[in-house]
Symmetry: C2
Subunit: 113 residues, 2 copies
DNA sequence: AGCTTAATTAAGGAGTTACTTACATGGGCG
DNA sequence: CGCCCATGTAAGTAACTCCTTAATTAAGCT
């Protein structure tokens, strides 16, 4: 596939059930590679490679504490994906503009922040 | 990759710039394979294969009129993608619940479509 | 029927993905 | 130092992706 651009890399990263499960698990908080690998029947190197794909897509961040690599979820790339999806669902003209307008309205009034 | 489940198939289909461009073009309305292939430098069979991937993912529908195959955009699969993305962005607890509540409020009142 | 147009199918090749097992790295501890 | 632990890297393989060219199907035209 060769994921040239950023958006393709993120979509490709999300196109695998194992990687999506890993991200779901990371929603509950950071975890080590061992913890992430536990629910899967595949080898640790296989999980490592999945984590590299997620890291390259910007979806996780890895920090080294002693010999444990802690993985943390990064949701920024999902914003681009959401924009693309919503745009192609037609939400920008039909429904989302109205919602966003309403939200700005709510935020603009005092006592709502 | 092997796209086992539906969601993986949709993500995989969207992980290619050519296919995303095809979908973008289809937003303006249905088009034939020839029209869709025109802006690309690749061969027609290549485009046909991209269209098959999109069709398998449920993102387009093909109807045969004479010898022209008209492709139409189907946005239903994007709903599942949007749900997954929004869920993992944490929007369901922070912001989206509020928005949806407001929307229901607007819809519930008469004179709002 | 024969030719053109529109599109798909068939066959194949270069590159990638997703896994495997075996080995290497590097920190904590006796 | 020597050993274990948590992880990463290397090398190899089966299956898949994305593209190609050549042949095929199917509809309309003369």
């Amino acid at each position: 596939m060769g994921a040239q651009d950023r958006l393709s890399a993120v979509f490709a990263a999300l196109a695998d059930p194992t990687r999506r499960e890993i991200l779901s698990r990371l929603r509950k908080g950071p975890a080590t590679v061992g913890e992430l690998a536990e629910p899967f029947e595949m080898s640790r190197p296989a999980v490592s490679q999945h984590l590299r794909v997620l890291e390259n897509a910007g979806l996780i961040e890895r920090t080294a504490t002693a010999q444990w690599r802690t993985c943390t979820l990064r949701t920024e790339p999902l914003d681009d994906v959401a924009d693309w999806i919503d745009h192609h669902r037609g939400l920008w003209n039909e429904r989302f503009d109205l919602l966003d307008e309403r939200l700005r309205d709510l935020k603009g009034r005092p006592g709502n922040g």
